[in-house]
Amino acid sequence: MVTAPIASLAQGLAGRRLSSVELTTALLDRVAALGAPLNAFLALDRERALAQARAADARLAAGDATPLTGIPVAHKDVLMTAGWKTTCGSRMLKDFVAPYSAFVVERLADAGMVLIGKTNMDEFAMGSSSESSYFGPVRNPWHLDYVPGGSSGGSAAAVAARLVPAATGTDTGGSIRQPAALSGVCGLKPTYGVCSRYGLIAFASSLDTPGPFAQTAVDCALLLNAMAGHDSRDSTSLDRPPEDYSRLLRPGAGAKPLTNLRIGLPREYNAAGIDADVAAAVDAALAEFRSLGATTVDVALPNLDLSVPVYYVIAPAEASSNLARFDGVRYGHRAAKYDGLADMYQKTRAEGFGAEVKRRILVGTYVLSHGYYDAYYLKAQQVRRLIADDFQRAYRECDVIMGPTTPTAAFRLGAKSDDPVQMYLNDIFTVAANLTGAPAISIPCGFDRNNLPIGLQIQGNHFAEALILNTAHRFQQATDWHTREPATMALESAR
């Protein structure tokens, strides 16, 4: 029961068949029993979680509950969480306790969710494998020798192992969708500006997007309902009327609920080196969508191959500036011994940041430098516009765009850590949505020859969250990939 999706747990809580304290206790016990080999959590707080669970039970008893009241959740450690260590997976913030909470953390707390812990991640959200954390790599619950994807790997692994029914992540180039795909869960990247970035420790400000992980599209919609909304503390937060992202998910759509849905299939995906098992799983999923009434149409995204290079100019450029505040002066790590100001900066940052973070700061500093700015940063912004134009043209012919979330299923730990370019190419299908700001979801759609999950990405135009959630939901009503759980024996034996 406690490993069920949010929607079922909420029914149990509402019907008083289950209390939040029971649920929270059971999940914390499950984390204690199974969590260690995954290294998904950086912080857990049983006392505080149970206090919140008791408060949630009181709310449920008082009839003052939301659909999320009493449901446990975990937050990616990139999100400021008042009173909790918020490390961003870095030595730089190893002992940093957040004095305030991020907007999405506040929203989910207001909805009555019970925070059980903070999840591990690639350092400063830079990575696609969750191996670059100062606190050690996260492991894939489907096979502990494999990565869970990244950078929100802790959240994805925790939801995949059914240690928690919901978790937050942030998606800058695929950091929600890629680990969702590699870990076999649902991960939604909303439209940029729908969820406030306030309290999200910035990696690349024009790309960073908070979003939810859960077992189902229905659950993602419930979480997004609480996470979305205008925030005057974020100038890029959009001021739009509140939207019910669950509104299309009601039952009773008939046998062919996706009639009229036009699915765009980018021709360029064929040239992207997609693994055969992944291609087969996606083809099978597309067949399922056709049987649900949808039609498919080939579309062109001619600049798709430029999205990874563009991303790896813009994201490091913004990161090089965003991470300048970690200077040892006001908070965070400071070198123990130094000789003067410059030496303090150098030693502090040399010690505080890991290799991948340093690599991106260097790249970003370079592309913004005098004499290189036009050739790199400015050019990248121009190409970013071309990529966005490609998508707008494609959406004249289709409603959603589908394809694999990643070219391959999960790879082994260490397989790509010495080859950053190979690691970056894992983002080929996900970065475009960040460059354009549009929403996209990854949902499980099969397994490869190693029994590792495969993700299907459904992209939509700006503000098409309800459409892509409904599209995902109808697929999940017709299939059971999202209900598959990793065997816990491996986790138990690895203890």
Partner: protein, 489 residues
Amino acid sequence: MTWEAVIGLETHAQLSTRAKIFSGASTAFGSAPNTQACAVDIALPGVLPVLNKGAVERAIKFGLAVGGAINRRSVFARKNYFYPDLPKGYQISQYEIPVVQGGSITIATRAGDKPVRLTRAHLEEDAGKSLHALAVPELPAGRAPWDLEEHTGIDLNRAGTPLLEIVSEPDLRSAEEAVAYAKTLHALVRWIGICDGNMQEGSFRCDANVSVRRAGVATLGTRCEIKNLNSFRFLQQAIEFEIHRQIELIEDGGSVVQETRLYDPDRGETRPMRSKEDAQDYRYFPDPDLPPLVIDDAWIERVRAELPELPEAKKQRFVGDYALSPSEASTLCSTLLLAQSYEDALRAGADPRLAANWILGEYSAALHRDESDRGAAPISGQQLGALLKRIQDGTISGKIAKEVFEAMWAGEGDADSIIDKRGLRQISDTDAIEKVVAEVLAANPTIVAEYRAGREKAFHALVGKVMAATRGKANPAQVNAVLRKRLST
């Protein structure tokens, strides 16, 4: 060989908003260190800037006042560099597209009025302060005391304070012109109410770009920038020193090196701070946390409607309407307080000539004496006008009016109540004056005799006696007439 100096100023005017430019923290000066720095100001992880519209409004006001173009779309950029009092590791400033472009300011020079062109004015945030080898009187409980000789303290109260950086074209040709420009600009930003102009507190500070060239040469010489001149006197001294330094350098066969210099007021000289080779690469790029600043026509018109009549226009009007001299009009228009007090006095019924004399005389002197020329005066223009009306209608003499003025300044009430309370109403009753004159003549036979012997001075002595006997209240013209009449019989 004659030389010409070429000078341009970059002026940082602190905008008079109550909150900072990108956060809600207070901008008030003089609080305990770091008590006015919120999460945004200290750049905690995850915080974001939100633009204060009041700062934009003030920039628009300035642009309109100098006849510049208000860019309908301007962009905030990040200027990246490391310094401990720069919490984010970058300063948010406008780089490629500023909020105001162009415009000009007219300065008075010996050769007459001269327009000085403005390049641009842009919005940016101030940094905090580094306090070296500082004395910290109280440390938070449980905090081990720092070795204050060896540590630098950071005060972030000023971090995020809104600044308008106003850049002039290199149109100035001497230290005097630079000071005239700075003073005119200083008066203007106070006049339109966008900056308190307090130079001691750093609310208005200038950087001067100075170069020299031989007379008749069209190209510019290599320039040096002198940073952070926070008084008109230092501005004058620093530029004069720098001009001489550069001329001597070239005449001795050397050449000027482009560099940033600091003025040392104790030694009266500029010293190199950093050379062009050391110049940092600020890696400017548009701040992704802030959408472009969009200003629509309606906003500009709303600000225009609030803009007071500008000093130059008011000055012309004073000369034309009230027959004041250009110099009087100019002084009356040197601050909005004086100009408004003058107009309020007129509105209360004061004569323009009399009011000008009083505002430029007693009123300015009192303001100066109290050093309250920045804030509100204890006597409003309207109250002053009511006092002057009592001179005009003969209720009191000009001399008594000065006594009343001092009492008003001290807060004793309005003119009429002070006149009544102190019994200062002028005696214009002929019978009463006749009576006092008779008494004075009877009591001073010696002086009367001197007068009759032909000594005119004795007459003045008698007038003085009568005025003294009435405690200055007798109408002096009537006293003269009665005395003449009585002494001629």
